[in-house]
Subunit: 135 residues, 2 copies
DNA sequence: TGACTATATTATCATAAAGGAATCTAAATG
DNA sequence: CATTTAGATTCCTTTATGATAATATAGTCA
């Protein structure tokens, strides 16, 4: 039975031997990379975040994000193909909603990582400033 | 007390510490997207995976991955800038090691997501095959 | 049916990113 | 100090990606 992955992201001292990524075939690695690629575009992240409060149709997304229509449509297509959002046609409109909540899990882990890094940098800068009396 | 005091000092400027992705400024969202971008390249993932068993110098990474030298050097630079690996010069060589283990956490979440999606697709294909007696 | 609306798709352009060859830099060694 | 070696950087070419405008499609309603 495969070990259940942690559902909440804690700063875990996690056993690396549990990790299977290092054993993936090149094709599987490419799939993982491709998933990350979908998340690597600020406007796409913005779109998903706009859906956090609930399903929206394309027009609403265009309004809240300020992006162009064709642009939004294509981003949504990519997100849907990656399984991050789901499309629900309703009449002439198309409603989209988040279909994979691990998205937020991923983002929070990244945020935490970035936060730690920025804090470290901030400390170093303060050290440097403190060591520079001429300023 | 808000969930988990990750930092001891107060954040002077607004940072990513208590991250609700949906509330991030465009700049912070861009940082998150940029982090994902570093992970969106199969060869970079391959390099990080190669480091899972321990630190390696560039030559070793070139050998195990089969990538070109300039290429590996550039990928390592990106990974280091993202804080995913750390560089340790030793003599004329440069050893790299994983410096952020949440990398594996991220990959596992993605793997799980992909696995679920592939299972669903597999079921659908089986249904279709079963409903196609002419084959 | 024909006009209208919401969304998808296509074509095109500009920019970014990856790979490879060549070059540069710095540490070790004779 | 010249040479060798590991690694970083630069330059160039190719491919991928994102934005936009134009066009196509598919529901809806008069």
């Amino acid at each position: 039975m495969p070990r259940k992955a942690a559902t909440k992201n804690k700063p875990t001292t996690r056993n690396l031997d549990d990790c299977k990524v290092a054993q993936l075939s090149p094709e599987s690695l490419a799939m993982v990379a491709n998933f990350f690629k979908v998340l690597s575009e600020p406007n796409r992240l913005q779109i998903v975040c706009a859906l956090k409060s609930g399903p929206c149709n394309v027009t609403e997304i265009i309004e809240t994000t300020g992006l162009g229509q064709a642009n939004v449509s294509k981003h949504l297509k990519m997100l849907a193909q990656a399984g991050i959002v789901a499309r629900q046609p309703r009449g002439v409109a198309a409603y989209y909603e988040i279909s994979n909540h691990s998205f937020f899990q991923l983002c929070e882990i990244v945020c935490e990582t970035l936060s730690i890094q920025l804090n470290q940098q901030s400390k170093q800068i303060k050290e440097l400033v403190a060591a520079t009396p001429n300023l």
